[in-house]
């Protein structure tokens, strides 16, 4: 506390009388007071009156402090509460809209199975290997071959599936399914039907060339003797056709 040019030593060193008030209450007394709620025996009188104030702060709830109860409970009933008498009423949700968890998981699993199974089903449909009625549906919906009498899948002596005759009429459907399955990366290309196709083609590596001949007879082998695509031809499967 000094002014400019005045040394601290030149300032009068006055001793101020201690205030007869709360400023002298030690921190330890205040901390203990807050913890226990009770002033210690040596606590200054001023703090004892503070205790009166704090006690009043903790008094029983007054009537006007219960005014919002109805609103809060109404909110609770709406959000959390359960009806005391759960009748078969409008509160019950229809099971169709919100199936229980177990059912939800089963539905999910079934949906997954349908999606996974579609690849194999499509392969069978293209191969003409479905029962006649199902094959007719497939024909009408995904353009699979019309149902045939005897080109469908065969079953071995002991029930082992051997797949369709990939050298016969089923070759076209099998090859169509093979091409689609390859494009989609489908696991269905590993099915029994495709193993029959591989056998007919003389090996898995020969299937593309074999199918090229089946799907485009008389053209493919001449254009792609080595099985590679003709890089001079730029297909535009999704793009706009070039303007003339």
């Amino acid at each position: 506390m000094s002014d400019r040019g005045v040394s601290d030593y030149d300032m009068p060193n006055r001793t101020w009388p201690p205030r007869n008030d709360a400023s002298g209450i030690p921190d330890a007394s205040l901390a203990a007071f807050l913890e226990s709620g009770t002033p210690a025996a040596d606590t200054p009188a001023a703090l004892r009156h503070v205790a009166d104030v704090l006690a009043a702060l903790q008094a029983e709830p007054a009537a006007d402090e219960a005014a919002g109860q109805a609103t809060a409970i109404a909110e609770f009933r709406n959000r959390v509460g359960v009806p005391k008498q759960p009748a078969r009423s409008r509160w019950r949700r229809p099971a169709v809209l919100t199936p229980p968890p177990l059912l939800r998981s089963r539905v999910g699993a079934a949906a997954t199975a349908v999606v996974v199974g579609l690849g194999g089903l499509a392969a069978a449909a293209y191969a003409g290997a479905l029962p006649a009625s199902a094959q007719l549906v497939a024909h009408n919906t995904i353009g699979a071959p019309v149902p045939k009498q005897h080109d469908g899948g065969a079953t071995g002596r002991h029930g082992t599936p051997v797949g369709p005759n990939a050298s016969g009429h089923a070759a076209f459907g099998l090859c169509t399914a093979y091409v689609h399955g390859k494009e989609a990366g489908s696991e269905a290309t590993k099915s029994v039907a495709f193993r029959a196709l591989e056998k007919a083609a003389g090996g898995a590596a020969n299937v593309p060339a074999y199918c090229e001949g089946v799907l485009h007879p008389g053209a493919s082998n001449a254009r792609h003797p080595d099985g590679r695509p003709d890089e001079t031809v730029k297909p535009h499967p999704t793009g706009k056709p070039p303007h003339p």
């Binding site: 007869n20 008030d21 709360a22 400023s23 209450i25 921190d27 205040l30 901390a31 007071f33 807050l34 709620g37 009770t38 002033p39 025996a41 200054p44 009188a45 001023a46 703090l47 004892r48 009156h49 503070v50 205790a51 009166d52 104030v53 704090l54 006690a55 009043a56 702060l57 903790q58 008094a59 029983e60 709830p61 007054a62 402090e65 219960a66 005014a67 919002g68 109860q69 609103t71 809060a72 409970i73 909110e75 609770f76 009933r77 959000r79 959390v80 509460g81 359960v82």
Partner: protein, 200 residues
């Protein structure tokens, strides 16, 4: 004369009221038991209102109601003991207050100067009688005369029953800062009582 805060009015007071039955009460409320929720509400609402009447005097009731709406929404997901519950309650109230303060200016609804002399504690030799006369409203008015942080810290410690660590989290200050604010607030409160004419 030693004055006990908890026995002074001879009745149940605010702060950690539910105690050992809290976990069961909370679970029941979370499962939809209205009676259990009512117990939680009654335990917390008075403390909440007293806190808000100092920190947001113009909108205490509205903010308290808004706080309970938020608490009810989060009730099924709440996990914790009674101290955590009260900390959550007051944290929610504080956030609601801050939201309100963006639209309002804080004006203290009352000050110690507005308190009728009959409501103030009187002489030392009649301190017991003073306890009988000092109303909660008068006590809140005295808190409202303190700087906001000091009043808030004292209320959270005394009315909400929270420890220093919890209060520090709620107000976003260090524990040391909370202790300093509480001590300064108590000293100032004592000084204000002296200045208001309370005979020591």
């Amino acid at each position: 004369m030693a004055i006990s805060l908890r026995a002074s009015h001879g009745a149940v007071i605010l702060g950690a009221v539910i105690g050992t039955g809290f976990a069961d009460t909370l679970t029941a409320a979370q499962e939809g038991d209205e009676e259990a929720f009512t117990r939680l509400w009654r335990d917390g609402n008075a403390a909440l209102l007293r806190y808000l009447r100092v920190t947001a005097p113009d909108a205490a009731e509205d903010i308290a109601a808004d706080t309970w709406v938020h608490v009810v929404r989060g009730l099924p997901r709440f996990r914790g003991d009674e101290a955590a519950w009260r900390a959550w309650l007051f944290t929610t109230a504080r956030r609601r207050t801050i939201d309100q303060a963006r639209r309002r200016t804080r004006h203290a609804a009352a000050s110690i100067h507005d308190v009728p002399p009959a409501d103030l504690p009187v002489t030392a030799d009649s301190a017991d009688e003073a306890l009988e006369h000092l109303s909660t409203r008068a006590a809140l008015a005295m808190l409202a005369d303190l700087p906001v942080l000091q009043a808030e810290v004292i209320l959270l410690r005394v009315v909400a029953g929270l420890d220093t660590e919890a209060v520090a989290r709620i107000v976003g200050r260090s524990q040391g800062a909370v202790r300093v604010a509480a001590h300064r607030g108590l000293r100032r409160l004592a000084q204000n009582l002296t200045d208001a004419g309370v005979t020591l």
